[in-house]
Amino acid sequence: MTYGVLRRGGAGYPPLLAQLHDPPPRLYLRGEQAGVLERPAVAVVGARSCSAYGAHVARTLGRELAGEGVVVVSGLARGVDAEAHRGALDSGGTTVAVLGCGIDRDYPARHAELARRIVAGGGLVVSEYEAGVEPAPWRFPARNRVIAGLALATVVVEARERSGALITADFALELGRDVFAVPGEITAALSSGTNRLIRQGAAPLLGPDDVFSALGLAPARRPPADLTDVAARVLNVLADAPSGQDEVVRATGLAASAVAAALVELELAGLAAEAEGVHRATRVPERAA
């Protein structure tokens, strides 16, 4: 199999990437649409062993950003990275996976299918390493600089104190690009890195619109959903805090069967999602002021 290759200084080499102080001399590509690298892109990165909250935020961000035509860049790793790619694919959008190993490798192996879908969806898998280079831990920070380099802004979804995602954020800051961090509970170790980023000056990310306005794009306009009364009541409960179904039952006084049906209705409308038995609103709903 042959892979596309872009040379530093040559045609098609992404100008944003060239701004790194040590841009990769070559960038190998899997996928046909090399032009993808010239479109506005945002990196969504974070912990591999993320929480259900992190996975949910990554997926939602991937979906909303790609749905508006922004290219979602990430590292094909487990957890946040994979969810961001999947979210982009959910909305039929474009996403770019940056590998820390040879362009012919799928690392981790279980994401081979995800990589295939990324390419099939018009996206790219890219690497600065030629075919045959083994994955190694010391290559991942280098990979992170490529992720930061390709994106106009970087969003860190969840990160522990010494997470690789913070390295990506550092590269983005060096380049003078926007860095967002998703706030988390102060007691959650998985959010300690992102919360610290916010203290150090990163913008707290409260929703996809924050990214759109940073990129100078208009915030996405969503038609108000046509919900049943029951579903609207359930959504109000979720807007206060993520809840298990039993908690929704108690908060609303509705029957368990009605709550279950309403949550599926919300999920089908893209307004709520479930993970590990906990349901969350996918965005902060606009309430009548």
């Binding site: 062993s49 998985l190 108690r250 279950a260 038995g277 906990v278």
Partner: protein
């Protein structure tokens, strides 16, 4: 006189069936000896010692002859201790201590104690049925086995001691009438009234009971998954008479009938530990014995900590889940055991159990979590119509009020069960639209599609609806297998 031959009839268990066995005792002159032929296993060989001591203890005479006992047909392996009584009776008849012709009207089954007492053996009801089929109306058996044998429509002759059996056959003893078994007096089934909160899981149990859907309960430890599962038998529709007899037969053969309760009246509940072997779960062994899957027939099989079961055991369960029976192939033939049960599985969301618990932090690596979940093949996971995650409540708020009693839930289940059998509600057009949207938006597979439809019909029947409404379909979708239990990381 060159030799004397006498016969008694008994039955050998082959799987869940009983085969008629003729016990021939032949007394010849010669050096006193005692041999049992006709493919007896070790346990049957040991009958020699019990029979000799039993006859002596009954103050009957041990014939000082060359004794040969043959168990016919000779090509069938004989197992167990139930041959003691018929062997003793055949020897007594051959030595003319009891009359031939009276013995010929009876089947006999029982183990002898060294003091001549008669002990019950498994499978009395099956043996009694087989006796009736070969035209024998009376069964000599241990007093404890008599109520069970009576269920099969033969006249049980309860005998406590070999001397009593001898006296009866000589016409010197009237057997006691067999008392009607007392109504069920075992421990009460656990009741849903004792469960506080857990509204969603309760609802899932109700649907599982009404439509006999397999249920997977996920969530961190200590959220009541097992406690909930134990309350499912109490809301299942009661067993029909035919089902009760079938279940009784199975439990009798397995030696699992509680003392004094000949008829199994409630749906059985079986919860094998995850260290149980595969044959213990699906059945097996040389003379195949029913496993837990068959013992749970018409009831509930709980696999607590599903992820801890060895994969071969789980894969072996796919056949009963598909066909409602277990087939065990042996050189001597193929045995089919019924195994139609509601499967309830519980599992943590990760090996350490902390996932889904807001107060704990999961220490499992993504690889370990993936390995834990991959234990359940897609194929097995696909057998669970209902998947419910029971999260730990985030706040310390009261877990909700004490719930509805099982009896109230059971009433609705019975009504739905009748509707499902008579006229299940058809899936209406608006519901199909909801389902079609779900296929697009949630990535529902063709298999998942069929499962959701089945559950929706059950929900419609529980609601007493004429057709499956969109809200029934939506609720059914909420029990679909979530992505996190599938292979994902």
């Amino acid at each position: 006189m060159e030799g004397v031959l006498a016969r008694a009839t008994t039955h050998a268990l082959v799987g869940l069936e009983a085969r008629s066995i003729e016990v021939e005792a032949h007394l010849q002159r010669g050096v006193p000896a005692f041999a049992i032929v006709g493919l007896p296993d070790k346990g049957v060989q040991e009958a020699k010692e019990r029979v000799r001591s039993g006859i002596a203890s009954a103050e009957l005479e041990w014939p000082m002859r060359r004794i040969t006992v043959n168990l016919a047909p000779a090509d069938l392996r004989k197992e167990g201790s139930g041959f003691d009584l018929p062997i003793a009776l055949a020897i007594l008849a051959a030595s003319q201590q009891i009359p031939f012709d009276t013995l010929a009207e009876h089947a006999a089954l029982g183990e002898l104690a060294l003091d001549g007492r008669i002990r019950p053996v498994p499978g009395a009801i099956v043996a009694a049925e087989a006796a009736r089929r070969v035209g024998l109306r009376k069964l000599l058996c241990a007093a404890e086995s008599a109520p069970e044998a009576a269920l099969a429509g033969v006249e049980p002759i309860p005998v406590r001691h070999l001397a009593e059996a001898g006296a009866y056959l000589r016409g010197r003893h009237e057997p006691e009438p067999v008392a009607e078994p007392p109504p069920y007096a075992g421990p009460p089934l656990p009741d849903l009234r004792e469960v506080r909160g857990q509204e969603r899981a309760r609802r899932a149990l109700e649907i599982a009971a009404a439509g006999r859907h397999n249920l997977l309960l996920g969530g961190p430890p200590g959220t009541g998954k097992t406690m909930l599962a134990r309350r499912l038998p109490g809301i299942l529709p009661p067993l029909t008479r035919a089902e009760a007899l079938e279940v009784t037969r199975i439990h009798s053969v397995a030696g699992a009938l509680p003392a004094g309760q000949p008829l199994v009246e409630h749906p059985p509940f079986r919860a094998p530990h995850h260290t149980a072997s595969t044959p213990a779960i699906v059945g097996g062994g040389p003379g195949p014995r029913p496993g837990e899957a068959t013992l749970a027939h018409c009831g509930v099989l709980l696999l607590d900590e599903l992820g801890e079961f060895p994969r071969p055991s789980l894969e072996a369960l796919r056949q009963p889940l598909e066909d409602g029976s277990v087939a065990i192939a042996r050189i001597g033939g193929r045995h089919v055991f019924p195994a139609r049960f509601v499967l309830v599985g519980t599992m943590n969301l990760c090996p350490c159990g902390a996932r889904g618990d807001p107060a704990a932090e999961c220490s499992c690596s993504p690889g370990r979590i993936a390995a834990y979940r991959e234990k359940l093949s897609r194929a097995l996971l696909d057998r669970f119509d209902l998947v419910v995650t029971v999260p730990r409540a985030r706040s310390r708020e009261v877990a909700g009020a004490g719930g509805e009693p099982s009896s109230a839930v059971a009433e609705r289940v019975v009504a739905a069960d009748v509707r499902l059998r008579d006229r299940p509600p058809p899936i209406g057009e608006p519901s199909r639209v909801v389902l079609a949207r779900a296929i697009d938006a949630l990535g529902l597979s063709a298999r998942g599609h069929a499962r959701v439809s089945r559950v929706a019909v059950t929900i419609g029947a529980l609601a007493g609806a004429h057709e499956v409404e969109p809200e029934h379909m939506a609720e059914a979708l909420s029990y679909r297998s979530p992505s996190e239990l599938a292979v994902a990381a």
